[in-house]
Every structure is written in C-alpha cells, then in structure tokens.
C-alpha cells in the first residue's frame, strides 16, 4: 500500500512527520541505536578532548608500556607500540564517521540521479543504465575494491573510492523502482499537462517523493560502509599507519590475539557497536516512515 500522494498540503506532511517521530520515540531499540550514534558523533568530534592520551591516539609510540592488559591507567590496554587502545578507538571513530559520510554522499550523488533518469526515461536509456549497474553488481565487490586500491595505492582516500564504486548501483536500482511506481501517478501527469519540463518534473515532483527509502537505505548503509572500510583496513588497504583505524587495529592485533586479546577485541567491538547502531536506527526509521510496506530483501 502506498502513501496517499496527491494532496501535499504542508498540514498533512507535518502530521506524517509527527507520527513518524512518535513511532521512533516509542521504540526502545531505535532509541538505543540513536543514543550510541550520538555518543559516537560526540566522541568523534571531540576526540582530542575525549581521549585520555590524544597523542597516542594519533600515533605517538610509548615503548615503555607495550602490550599492557586493560587497567585503570589504560582502559582498553595498549598495543605493541604502547599506545592506549581506548584513545585510538576514539580517534578511529573520527576516521570511520568521516569515511561513512563521504562515501554515502558519493554513492547517493551518483546512484540517485542515475536511477532517476533511468526510471523516468525508460526504454533504451533505462536498459543501458541498468545493464551497466547490473554488471557492477555482479562483480564481487570486495575484489573490485581490492583491485581499485591495489592500482591506486593504499590510502584512506583510495579506499573511499574503492568502496563507493561497487556501491552506487544499489541506489540506482532502488531509485529507479521508486520512480517507476511514482511516475504513473496523477499528480505527475498533471504536472506534465501543465507544461513542466522533464527536469522540473524529475527533480521537483518525483524526487521528493522517492526520498524516504533512500534515506532509510543510506542510514543502514552507513554502518556497512564503515564495515567495508574496516575490512579493507584489515587487509592493509585503507588508512596507513600510524593513523588509528578500527580495521587496521583488528589486523594489527591478530599477531598477538591469543595472548594479548584486547587489541583486536575492542577495536572490532567498536565496529560491531557502530554497525549495530546504524542498523537499529535505520530499522526504526523504516518502520516509522512506512510501517505497512513489507520489508523486502533488497541486498545482503
């Protein structure tokens, strides 16, 4: 069942929004997720203040206190260069959030317009765009990302590109199916009858009504983007030392993980909690916006 589209009086919209916010407020899981995200954003923004050893967080070594287990002095222990893991996890949050925002912007920036055009234009344009998107989707994304980083050289920036390139087709697909279902609607036909140009119709009439699934997807995806970047970091293909990066920390900790388990455990735990938070919030938003639409399997 779709939303009742034709009457877009601000009055109705505001009420929808109010109802959505209520639903979010009532769901404890979503609130929990939001709380975590809030904490995450705050620590990322205030990293130099939040971290007990900000210099070590940035990479300064501390050879006297190598590989120390968690204690009051070092809440999460130290790594093999003596750096405080808690501080490094905090600084890692910075990298992760920055990366997630950047990738989402790129992916939405490429994928949504393409999907809009494909859905609206139909015919050969649609075919062309979608075939291209399908091809990229068929390719194992991890390998594509690895190949891209390998050719450009390992760095955070290149990792961002490597993650974005296999990711945008999802948004094209999503947007396109939204556009297809919307474009037959009466209000679109009336806009065309009045003489609105194609671009005007696409961006002023169609696009705003397709945004909610995109927002939901982008929210959930932020968590997975962080996971993907961490995965590349784990393989050594992302941020470079001595910058703190959760994936790199998990990989670094592997050499010691049976005896000095704290290095990998806490950094990996940070990834887990972050992805979980985004998932919970994303789910909450999805339910709040469209509780009656059956959640379909869109991607794994």
């Amino acid at each position: 069942m779709k939303k009742d589209a034709p009457h877009h009086r601000p009055h109705g919209r505001a009420r929808e929004l109010q109802r959505s916010l209520d639903l979010i407020r009532r769901n404890p899981l979503t609130l929990f997720g939001l709380f975590i995200l809030l904490m995450l954003t705050l620590t990322a923004l205030l990293a130099p203040l939040a971290a007990p050893y900000p210099q070590q967080g940035k990479g300064l070594s501390n050879l006297d206190e190598r590989l120390e287990p968690p204690s009051f002095k070092h809440l999460m222990g130290t790594d093999d260069l003596g750096r405080d893991i808690f501080s490094r996890v905090i600084f890692g949050a910075r990298i992760s959030l920055k990366a997630a925002v950047a990738v989402v912007l790129i992916v939405v920036g490429i994928g949504v317009p393409l999907g809009l055009i494909a859905g609206y234009a139909g015919g050969k344009t649609d075919d062309l765009i979608m075939r291209f998107a399908d091809m990229i989707l068929a390719f194992p994304s991890l390998l594509l990302a690895v190949a891209i980083v390998a050719s450009l050289g390992p760095s955070l920036f290149n990792a961002l590109i490597a993650v974005s390139l296999p990711w945008w087709p999802w948004y094209t697909r999503l947007m396109r199916s939204q556009v297809i279902s919307i474009k037959e609607m009466p209000f679109v036909e009336s806009a065309a009858a009045v003489g609105a140009s194609h671009w005007r119709i696409m961006f002023r009439h169609i696009l705003p009504n397709c945004l909610s699934p995109i927002i939901v997807q982008a929210t959930v995806d932020m968590g997975y983007i962080i996971l993907a970047i961490a995965g590349l970091g784990f393989l050594g293909l992302g941020t470079q030392p001595p910058t703190a990066d959760w994936g790199v920390m998990v990989s670094d900790g592997r050499e010691f993980f049976l005896n000095q388990w704290w290095i990998s455990t806490f950094s990996g735990g940070a990834i887990f909690i972050t992805v979980l938070a985004f998932n919970l919030v994303g789910d909450g938003i999805r339910e709040a916006l469209d509780p009656k639409i059956r959640w379909r399997f869109q991607k794994t």
């Binding site: 390998l143 390998a150 049976l258 455990t265 990834i271």
Partner: protein, 340 residues
Amino acid sequence: MLRFVIRRFIWLGFVLLGLCVITFVLSRVVPGDPAALYVGPRARPEQVEKVRAELGFDKPLYIQFAYYLRDITRGDLGESLRTHRPVVTGILDHLPASLELMISAILIALAAGVPIGVISAKNENTALDHFSRFFAVASTSLPSFWLAMIFQIIFFRLLGILPIGGRLDTVVALMHPIEKITGFYLIDALLTGNWTAFKDAAWHLILPSITLAAYSTGLIVRMTRSTMLEVLREDYITTARSVGISENEIVFVQALRNALAPTLTTAGLCFAYMLIGTFYIEIIFFWPGIGKYITNAILQNDYPIIMGVALLMAVFYVLVNLIVDVLIAVVDPRIRLGKE
C-alpha cells in the same frame, strides 16, 4: 516462459563479457610488472625482458585481451605468476573446501533462522519477539573477521574445546588420511569409513561455519518473521482457526509452507554472497579454500589468480541469481505472463 529464460541467458552472456573486460582492465591497471613477478625477486633486467616477450606482455593491449578471451573460452585461466600452476587447477583444488563451508553455513542459517523467525512471528510483540529481532539485527551487524577471532579466543584459547583452525588436525591427516573422492572431507570420510577423520573434520568445521552463518541467520530470521506475519494475517488462516485446527498446525504447517518461498529466495542469495563472505573467515580460520587462495594472490599481485577467481565468483553470483529468478518466475505467474 522459454523466451524469458532465453532472454536472461543472452543478458548473462553480455554481463560475462563485461566482466571479462573489467577483470582484464583491472589486471593491467594494477601496478607491478607481471613479468618481474613471474621471473622472481632477484632477476636481472635482461631476464625480465626475455620473459616479458615470452609471455606476450609487450604486445598491445587489445591483442592481449584477445588472447585472454580466447584462453577463457578454452577453459584456460592462465597460470599463477608465482607458482606457475594453472589457475583452473588451483581453483578446483580449493573450491571444495569453500563449498563445504558454505553449505554447512547455509544449513545452519536455515536450521536456526527459520524456527526463530517463526516463533518470533507467532509471538509477535512479546519479549521473545523483541529479543529475536534484536538478535537478528545483531547478527547482521557483526564484522565476520572479528566474530571469528572472538570465537577463537573463547573456544580455543579459554575453553580449549575447539581447534583454532584448519580443516583437519595434522596428526590425524598423517595417520588417517582422507581419500579424495569429492573433496568434501565429511562426505569422503563417511564414504571410506574413516571415522576418526570424520569426527575431526566435523570438529574443525564448527566454528568457521557458525561464523559464516551469522549474517545469513539474521537475514533469514527477519525474512521469515515478516513473511510469516503477513501470511498469518491472510484470510484462509483466520478460516482455519475458526474451523478449529490447532495453532501449532496452522503456524508450522499451513503458514510456513507459504512463507517458505521468499525465505528460500533469501537463502539462495545469501548462498551466492557467501562465496565472498568466506574470504575473511578463511583467512582467520586458515581454511584452505578459495579465500585463502586469493589472499596470497592479492598480496603478491598474482593477477591471473585474482582475475580468474573474480571471474568465477561473478559467474557464480550471476548464475545463482538467474536460477533464483527463474524459480521465482516459475512460481509466480504474474512475472511469467506479464512484463518483467
């Protein structure tokens, strides 16, 4: 119906060609002189030049691509630059290990996910339901490489009841070697009555397959739950209830039967993605499958292996998708008869 399938196959052909182009371009764009890699770390410049001419790396790109396509159609994916063994052999050697892992994982995911999803749907909005839903979301949020390490720390280091990795214990492999029939250790050991090896192989399979199953389990729980919820709202269920059929029979038999299709679709797609999902898990559990095979290749820029495996994975994914689409079409008359 037939037209639909044929059209899909034609599309498949184009996608494969596109994939070949992608893999080829990537392999040439990736830095590192393949001739130098082939010859070894301390070769003289003259040796490298000789090899470059021998292997055809000095020819223009489009000719190299033509050779590449021709070789693929012959089933030759080239040779590893490092070990000089055919990539196809390497893939065939490592594939059974990965498949064994994937099949175990999908079975676990279904065996765990479907019941939880059903029970969750049956008890909608109770504490049990909320807990299951949280569990499902958490499962899909876990970084696989982290979960793998946590399992190792807990079950190997702390509790000492499960092995740290590998498919088989070294001593068992020496004393009770498994005869290779299918490449699946569990099956081969059973077929040859090798009980010690069977137990050992099963023991080694536990942690990696549970880790691999985690993500899919979460998805299957969610999918089953939401489908069940919808099905349970249907009229014929209400009718069945009013007629007096037991709640359990309704839920577990009538409703589940109809809810299974989307769940199995989900499971099928999960299975396709698992081939990539095995990557990190094979690294951490030292599982000698495709993931391990390609990791070494990536670290050393051994591009024939990378390209060959990438092509294989893409083909696998596309095929599974095709099969799933065809099955859906078979089942759903709306698609079969109408437009896509």
